[in-house]
């Protein structure tokens, strides 16, 4: 083998260098294409630069930091949220949007739909962990509040409220708990494809009062 001269690289070095810059070009292309695509989606109005993505034709998968959320209108309250989260206590909890709630005396989110006897007895409670607080406001109205430290996100009350009531109870990913996994384990198990990515600075999809 010929002696290497310091200012004349050998063939192997030359090849490596060429391939290195080719690889750099490929990485640049990958970065460029993904960024360009992001830019295009923003331009087409599928993503907005700032503010909530309310103008989107669908709940956007935009380029801002994204987090998982449940579309309450797709959710079927199947119960997977309680069992499939990677956290031992699910990051999904029930929320109550008070202006939608009918403040019913007999709430089927709170009571079993087929009780032994229709009364307000505590044994008729639907929630397996007793996480719903029922508070008398004025006759005949009662306020129902979720104690999040007890809620396991099973969605039993959601099903009851959707079937018989106004649907003011629904499940949401709580972002003080959510780990924001790259692949959400509940999303993978969701039967109705209700998990969507939303921008991190506006991470809730609450039902609106008087939604039609």
């Amino acid at each position: 083998m010929a002696e290497k001269s310091p200012d004349r690289p050998d063939r192997r070095q030359f090849l490596a260098e060429t391939m290195r810059y080719a690889a750099l070009g490929v990485f640049g292309a990958i970065g460029g294409i993904t960024l360009a695509k992001r830019h295009r989606l923003v331009k087409e109005g599928l993503c907005t630069e700032d503010g909530p993505c309310s103008g989107c034709s669908q709940f956007v998968k935009c380029y801002r930091p994204q987090v998982w959320q449940i579309d309450p209108y797709k959710c079927t309250a199947c119960g997977n949220c309680a069992t499939h989260c990677v956290l031992e206590e699910s990051a999904v909890k029930c929320v109550q949007v008070y202006p939608i709630c009918g403040y019913c005396k007999i709430c089927f989110g709170f009571f079993e739909p087929n009780p032994y006897e229709i009364d307000e007895g505590a044994e008729n409670q639907l929630c397996p962990t007793g996480a719903i607080l029922r508070e008398f406001i004025e006759d005949p109205y009662y306020e129902y509040t979720i104690d999040e430290s007890l809620c396991i996100g099973c969605g039993k009350c959601v099903k009851g409220c959707n079937t018989f009531g106004n649907g003011s109870f629904f499940l949401q990913v709580r972002h003080d708990r959510c780990e924001n996994c790259n692949e959400c384990a509940i999303a993978a198990a969701c039967p109705s494809d209700a998990f969507v990515r939303v921008p991190a600075d506006n991470p809730y999809l609450l039902k609106k009062a008087g939604h039609s």
Partner: protein, 430 residues
């Protein structure tokens, strides 16, 4: 006139139906309280994701730079180990392992195939930075930045050496894993790498039992076999292997002339130190020439065979896609092969989408799996062929050297090299 009547009837119907829908939304009108009670606000605890995303990128850049400096310039095992512990604590236990550059492969892939998916900037940074650093400085990301590598680095107790043929064979799993992960991400089926991340459960101190057991197995094996995940499964690892072969800088064992004391050879738990290669005899040259010629002919055959096998398993692969599973279930329910319904099929029926439409979607997805399966199989055939060719190639090597592809830049060998110690002493005396 008749037309006008129809319009009136139609309008009335719309109004009545609209009214019914509205009633269903609010069966019991929300009360107006007489005692002045006001509706409480629904709490919306905010995510910390937005801020952290940018802090993470800066920390990643900082640790990558530091890892490179420590491995290539400072050459101290203790400092590298310190950074490894920091990365484990920060990226692992504090940030809980998401997002990581390994998983980012899938996000980038998905952005190329899903017309509505754009990758967040942070994910692009997490994907590209380690690649660029590896391209110029070797696998310093693996050494002390990756939390998955870090946790294995720390549990390593008494490494046993893995024979080269076994290591090379087991590495096929990593190529298979990479191929499958890209295929499933491209078809929008699943993020395989995230789903079977063995250590994320430990970082979160919570997770389902299967994954925790899987991770525990890796850690137990990892006490005796250095970094089993990195060497035999990590999909990013096999990409890094290839690009670190052409890196500008690399980890060198000795800072000066190798004195061939062989002390470093035993120090590497990852089998990454190569002995000086002896000159081949004429016989060996001739044999290997014939073998390479044969293997070059075999290569296209392997690619073709791989493609055929990939094509034949497309329906099994397609099962990974939720739409395909749903379509099969709905068809079975429709034809009466199964009794009852599932949550998914119930939810599908409430959407009002026709069954036929679902079947068509599923068959499109199966088709893309057909092409994907062929490409995946061909890719694996190519990898096997190239592996066979590479073992038959002779490369000149005069000293003990760290294999560019396998070296994790952990820095253990520095501490064993007597030349290194001599240099350090000289530096101290100055």
């Amino acid at each position: 006139m008749i037309r006008f009547r129809y319009i009136v009837i139609g309008l009335a119907a719309v109004l009545i139906l609209g009214g019914l829908v509205r009633a269903a939304e609010s069966r019991f009108p929300p009360p107006e309280f007489e005692n002045g009670h006001e509706f409480p606000q629904t709490t919306t605890p905010q995510t910390r994701e937005g801020v952290f995303a940018y802090i993470d990128s800066i920390v990643l850049l900082g640790t990558l730079g530091l890892a490179t400096y420590l491995a290539l310039k400072k050459r101290r095992r203790k400092a590298i180990l310190g950074l490894t512990v920091f990365s484990l604590l920060y990226f692992g236990f504090y940030r809980e392992g998401c997002i990581c550059p390994i998983g980012a492969i899938q996000n980038v892939t998905m952005s190329f195939f899903d017309p509505l998916y754009a990758v967040p900037i942070v994910v692009i940074i997490f994907f590209l930075l380690p690649l660029i650093f590896t391209l110029f400085f070797g696998r310093t990301f693996c050494s002390s930045v990756c939390p998955l590598g870090a946790i294995q680095e720390i549990v390593l107790l008494k490494p046993i050496s893995v024979p080269r043929w076994l290591e090379s064979g087991l590495r096929l799993f990593a190529y298979l894993y990479l191929g499958l992960a890209i295929l499933f991400a491209a078809t929008g089926s699943a993020f395989l790498i995230c789903r079977y991340d063995p250590f994320v459960g430990f970082f979160r101190l919570s997770g389902n039992a299967n994954i925790l057991v899987f991770g525990a197995c890796f850690l137990i094996v990892g006490m005796f076999v250095g970094r089993p995940y990195c060497r035999f499964l990590c999909p990013l690892g096999v990409i890094f292997r290839q690009i670190s072969r052409i890196s500008k800088k690399r980890v060198t064992i000795t800072p000066d002339e190798c004195i061939k004391c062989r002390l470093c050879e035993e120090s590497c738990p990852y089998g990454a130190i190569q002995k000086p290669a002896e000159q081949w005899t004429k016989e060996q040259y001739k044999k290997s020439k014939i073998r390479i010629a044969f293997l070059l002919i075999l290569l296209p055959v392997l690619i073709f065979l791989g493609g055929m096998i990939g094509k034949s398993v497309k329906n099994t692969l397609a099962q990974m896609h939720p739409t395909v599973r749903l379509a099969e279930r709905v068809r079975m329910e429709e034809t009466g092969q199964v009794e009852g319904t599932t949550d998914a099929s119930d939810a599908f029926r409430t959407t009002g989408v026709e069954n036929v439409e679902l079947y068509e979607q599923a068959s499109n997805i199966r088709q893309s799996f057909g092409l994907g399966g062929i490409l995946l199989g061909a890719f694996l055939g190519f990898i096997i062929g190239m592996k066979l060719i590479l073992v038959s190639v002779w490369r000149e090597r005069k000293d003990y050297e760290a294999d560019r592809a396998s070296c994790f830049a952990c820095g253990r060998c520095f501490e064993y090299c007597p030349v290194e110690h001599k240099k350090r002493n000289e530096r101290k005396q100055q």
